[in-house]
């Protein structure tokens, strides 16, 4: 197992480098550069200023040199410097990462738990009104633009009802500490996490339901019934476990998008996360930040692919013993 993981990590590192190179060219393909953006904001009219900025950012060097310098840095986990923000990229990302992880992981957990429970409920009442209701609600969440739900939720719960804060990560200026701060953050988390989670909840629900129905037609379920097991036990022990396999695959995919997968939600709820950082970086052509975010995102995707694989091995003995 350890060897398996090590081998996979090695392979991932190689892939990561390749991805980095591709990303590098992708990002540099966009018209405009950070020097021009910054000069514009400063209202600078003289070319010397822009040329100086370019030289400072190393943008006057040939692209291949820039790439080489970047790769060399990245290999030592140095993601470069954001000249625009006057900060090392790694630090910028680390500053934002906790907020994003908190948001996306909460949404992730919410969506899996809600989605699977709803899916099981719907499957066990297949064709009944309960199933219809759950499926319909899921379908509507699935079909509604995310930002629309976000706007509506913030309007309703924050402005009209005043129950929950409509944006931000914590109450600014309150200087809470310890548990109170935790609760404060949790209150801020509810709206964005739920909104973000709803879409995936719908997907998990539909997937679990379909998978449950499919598994329940398999022969071993009949065997289980022939043993005289109660339907509840059959549902949990035999159907659900097998039905979760495709759900794990999907969860792996979703988890991989945890970094930067929440641009819209972070925008609407002013959540100080990576997604927003990335969006701003695109607008400002802050290449290093953008590359850094993509790097971290790709690393996450590969990491979660690995975790999914390991999880598969744990859940599905067929794979465990083969490898």
């Amino acid at each position: 197992m350890i060897r398996f993981i090590l081998a996979r990590l090695l392979k991932a590192a190689v892939i990561l480098m390749a991805i980095l190179v591709l990303n590098f060219f992708l990002i540099h393909a966009a018209p405009g550069d950070p020097a021009a953006v910054m000069a514009g904001e400063a209202g600078a009219t003289d070319e010397q200023f822009i040329a100086d900025l370019r030289a400072r950012f190393g943008l006057d060097q040939p692209l291949s040199t820039q790439l080489w310098l970047y790769i060399k840095g990245a290999a030592q986990l140095d993601l470069g410097y954001s000249y625009r923000q006057n900060m090392p990229v790694a630090q910028l990302i680390l500053d934002r990462l906790p907020a994003t992880l908190l948001l996306t992981l909460t949404a992730f957990v919410i969506s899996i738990v809600l989605g699977v429970v709803a899916g099981v409920l719907a499957a066990s009442r297949q064709g009944g009104w309960g199933d219809t209701l759950i499926s319909a609600v899921a379908m509507i969440f699935y079909a509604t633009p995310l930002f629309w739900i976000a706007l509506m939720a913030s309007l309703l719960f924050s402005v009209v009802l005043g129950w929950l804060p409509g944006f931000g990560y914590e109450t600014i200026g309150a200087n809470y500490t310890g548990l109170v701060r935790g609760l404060d953050i949790a209150r801020h988390l509810i709206l964005p996490a739920t909104t973000l989670g709803l879409f995936f909840t719908a997907i998990y629900m539909r997937m679990t339901r379909a998978s449950m129905l499919e598994v329940s037609r398999l022969d071993f379920v009949k065997t289980a019934r022939a043993k005289g097991l109660r339907p509840g036990v059959i549902q949990r022990r035999h159907i659900l476990r097998n039905a979760l396999l495709p759900v794990i695959t999907l969860a792996g995919l979703q988890a991989g998008q945890i970094v930067g997968g929440a641009v819209l939600t972070e925008t609407v709820f002013a959540w100080p996360g990576i997604g927003r950082l990335m969006f701003d970086a695109i607008n400002q052509r802050d290449y290093n930040v953008l590359l850094g975010v993509f790097f971290v995102s790709a690393a996450m995707v590969l990491l979660f692919n690995l975790i999914t694989d390991i999880l598969y091995v744990v859940v599905d003995p067929r794979i465990r013993i083969r490898s």
């Binding site: 022969d219 071993f220 065997t223 019934r225 022939a226 109660r230 083969r322």
Partner: protein, 546 residues
């Protein structure tokens, strides 16, 4: 003493099914300690009757008439809770497909222990030890290891034993076995049959055994019920039904059983060898990589033989012995690792690209599964013309030939415009044969070409093959695990075991005076051998005339 009684049972199928009732007006009685066999072709309602007993009918299918009485209670009226109490405890069931009937994610021990748990018996520890005893009882080698294993780690036969252990765990009074051996090879089948027989004797259990194999019936049945189209057409003690069948359907089924021997074969050894195979090897490596040593299977090990013009060679052996791999190496669906396959002086094994394509049309294949061997999205006409067209025959000409071929294999020429799903299994197999013939090959390789078919249809297809072979002077390699089938159609037989050829000789010699122990064991395991002899005696003719 009757313990189970079915009266006038009718089971309705949902709207749109092929017929309104799966089972109509079925009545039967089962006495303690008795083995009752239900036979009949596919779709005759055997499984439905059995499922009705357990209250496990599929969705949309429900009993509409009659009663099932067990210990004075009508099971059709019982509620789900009562039925649950009976399942596993009073009535056990074994299903056909050992592969899918066990939960792939649970250990064997846990799955057996579940039976006790379902009926709230024993402590968890006691359940495990009881499970171990049961595995021992059904003759599983190394039960200690098996109890911790997952289903996929066991062979088909072993899995079927686990199923039996599970069904027997609570010593039910009635055991229902729905084709429990159909998916197994003969040797394993013989073991399982013996096991059931032993258990019945030891525990005085009543058994309903569903099968379509008359050999099996002859070996174990006390009484036989024959079903056709959802109705019972004949019923009686095993000897009576098997030897003196009254109903024409039963007679037809019995007549279709292929028997050993068959007609006398002329020696074709004198004819020139059309295919010369020398030192053929194929090794599969799987699962290898950075992290684990690969599993190596020597699927074909140093195979050497000649096939003469007009000759049929049978390749037999148990599952996994390398028969299919050998066949596929010959047509180069699989690239052999070493060895020569000479066809008219050309070594097929070393060709590639255009040369391979040019030579390949002389050697064609008929596949096992009539369902998956025809592209469901192509018309029959297209299936039959694609080959010739890709070798340059004009489409119109190829189509005309396709019509002829269809007539040749006994189908209507109008079939060219239809799709595979509009045909029955036997008809599809004929299409498959026509496709192989479309390229006018010299050699045909038939890999389990009749194994998936019902006995009666099997007989028709075998007849067809024999006819065609004569008419077209084909040479044929006939791969099968059924020795009786091999005996019937083959001039010579090759017996394979674990990739090696262990015996090769004329069909008669191999079947009547086998030299190798393995061949002998295979022959031993064929069910119903005594019966066949008896049948021969009773009628004075071989079971099947070709």
């Amino acid at each position: 003493m009757t313990i189970l009684q079915i009266r006038n049972l009718s089971i309705a199928l949902p709207k749109g099914a092929d017929r309104p009732h799966a089972v109509e007006d079925v009545s039967l009685e089962l006495a303690a300690g008795e083995i009752l066999c239900i036979v009949g072709e596919s779709g005759s309602g055997k499984s439905m009757s059995a499922n009705a007993l357990m209250g496990l009918l599929p969705e949309g299918v429900r009993p509409v008439k009659g009663s099932i009485t067990y210990q004075g209670r009508d099971l059709l009226q019982a509620d789900e809770g009562d039925l649950r109490a009976l399942r596993g405890r009073d009535i056990g069931m074994i299903f056909q497909e050992p592969l899918s009937a066990l939960n792939p994610l649970m250990r064997i021990g846990a799955q057996i222990a579940e039976v006790f748990e379902a009926h709230r018996l024993l402590t968890p520890v006691a359940r495990q030890s009881r499970a171990l005893e049961l595995l021992h009882e059904v003759g599983l080698p190394d039960p200690k290891k098996a109890i911790r294993a997952y289903p996929f780690q066991l062979s088909g036969g072993q899995r079927q034993r686990v199923m039996i252990a599970m069904a027997l765990a609570l010593e039910p009074k009635v055991l229902i076995a729905d084709e429990p051996t159909t998916a197994l090879d003969v040797t394993t089948q013989a073991q399982i049959l013996k096991l059931i027989e032993d258990l019945r004797r030891k525990r005085n259990m009543a058994v309903i055994f569903i099968t379509h194999d008359f050999g099996v019936v002859a070996d174990i049945a006390d009484r036989v019920i024959v079903m056709q189209h959802g109705r019972i057409v004949e019923e009686g003690p095993a000897r009576d039904v098997l030897l003196h069948a009254r109903h024409p359907y039963t007679q037809k089924l019995i007549a279709a059983i292929p028997g050993p021997g068959g007609e006398a074969k002329d020696d074709k050894q004198g004819a020139p060898a059309i295919l010369r195979v020398r030192g053929l090897n194929k090794i599969y490596k799987t699962g290898g990589g950075l992290f684990s040593s690969p599993r190596v299977v020597h699927a074909v090990n140093d195979m050497t033989f000649d096939l003469h013009t007009g000759e049929t060679i049978g390749i037999v052996g148990e599952s996994g012995s390398g028969k299919s791999t050998a066949g596929r190496c010959l047509v180069r669906l699989v690239a052999p690792d070493s060895g020569r396959v000479e066809m008219a002086g050309v070594d097929m094994a070393s060709l590639s690209g255009a040369d391979l394509r040019a030579n390949r049309r002389r050697i064609q294949m008929i596949f096992q599964d009539p369902y998956s061997s025809l592209n469901p999205r192509s018309t029959i006409g297209r299936i039959l013309t694609e080959g010739p067209v890709s070798y340059g025959t004009p489409r119109a000409e190829a189509l005309a030939r396709a019509r002829e071929l269809l007539e040749l294999v006994g189908l209507d020429a109008s079939a060219v415009t239809r799709y595979p799903h509009e045909f029955s299994g036997g008809q599809r197999q004929r299409v498959g044969i026509a496709r192989a013939l479309a390229l006018q090959p010299d050699i045909i390789i038939a890999d389990e070409a009749v194994s998936a078919l019902d006995v009666s249809i099997q007989a028709q297809v075998l007849d067809l093959l024999a006819d065609l072979k004569r008419q077209l002077n084909l040479s044929m390699l006939f791969i099968t695990h059924d020795l009786r089938v091999a005996a019937q159609v083959c001039d010579r037989i090759i017996v394979m075991k674990q990739g090696r050829v262990v015996e090769m000789g004329s069909a008669d010699t191999v079947l009547t005076a086998p030299e190798h122990d393995y061949t002998r064991a295979l022959l031993e395991a064929i069910p119903g051998r005594d019966y066949e002899r008896a049948l021969k005696d009773a009628t004075g003719v071989p079971a099947c005339q070709s």
